[in-house]
Amino acid sequence: MPMTIKENMAIQQERDLVYCRNRVKEIAAKIGMGIVNQTKLITATSEIARNMLRYAGGGNVKVEVITRGKLEGLQLVFEDSGPGIPDINKAMQDGFTTGNTLGLGLPGAKRLVNEFAIQSVVGKGTTVKILKWKNG
């Protein structure tokens, strides 16, 4: 039985990051996602949400259970109205950083999920959409 779960979480401070990770883990466990995929998903969540907090001062996360044919999974949409990313291709390269970090955030997150899409408008904000299948 596919579940209909839709949730909204605000990321305004570091503590929200911990809450968001735990909540995503709970939902992932509820739809029967395996422990390794759960861990990959919450790690990707942590990377993207932290980026949002650090570079855009916060934003919003939408969590939704998605079914496509026989596949079931979790989709997360991260939205902020921060400064935007001028060069997305560069931001998606391993080791590229403007903020004294390892620069693994976005490219690393992409490797941990099944689908990854990023849209950004300079001056308006950034949207990152990720999807992780239960058995993928």
Binding site: E14, K25, T39, T43, R50, T101, G108
Partner: protein, 130 residues
Amino acid sequence: MERIPILKMGRFLLVTIQVDLYDRLALTLEEDLVQMVYDTGASGVLIDISALSIVDSFMGRIIGNIAGMSSIMDAETVVVGMQPAVAITLIELGLPLAGVHTALNVERGMALLESRMSARPDDTSDADDD
């Protein structure tokens, strides 16, 4: 302010991370631990992360930092008890923690540190004869 306790066990320091690490807490731990290595002259640091269900690139960086900083203060760092799912995720993320020693649990980590101490050629101060 919340802090993660650091225990001194002989020549080594032991940190058991039991709570969810948020960034400020991790940074505080880095600071406290390096200060403690200096104050106690410890020759090894054990970080038990068996209770952690997530290590992302930020926490990975902190662990790398602690190892690097301790190392130039002549203390070795061993990360112990990493969960399988966390290990697989870290590798996929692209963070193999190359400069850090690892062990299955605290006991093995302690044994690893002991054996590395006794293998040191210049460390004659308190080493038994090999």
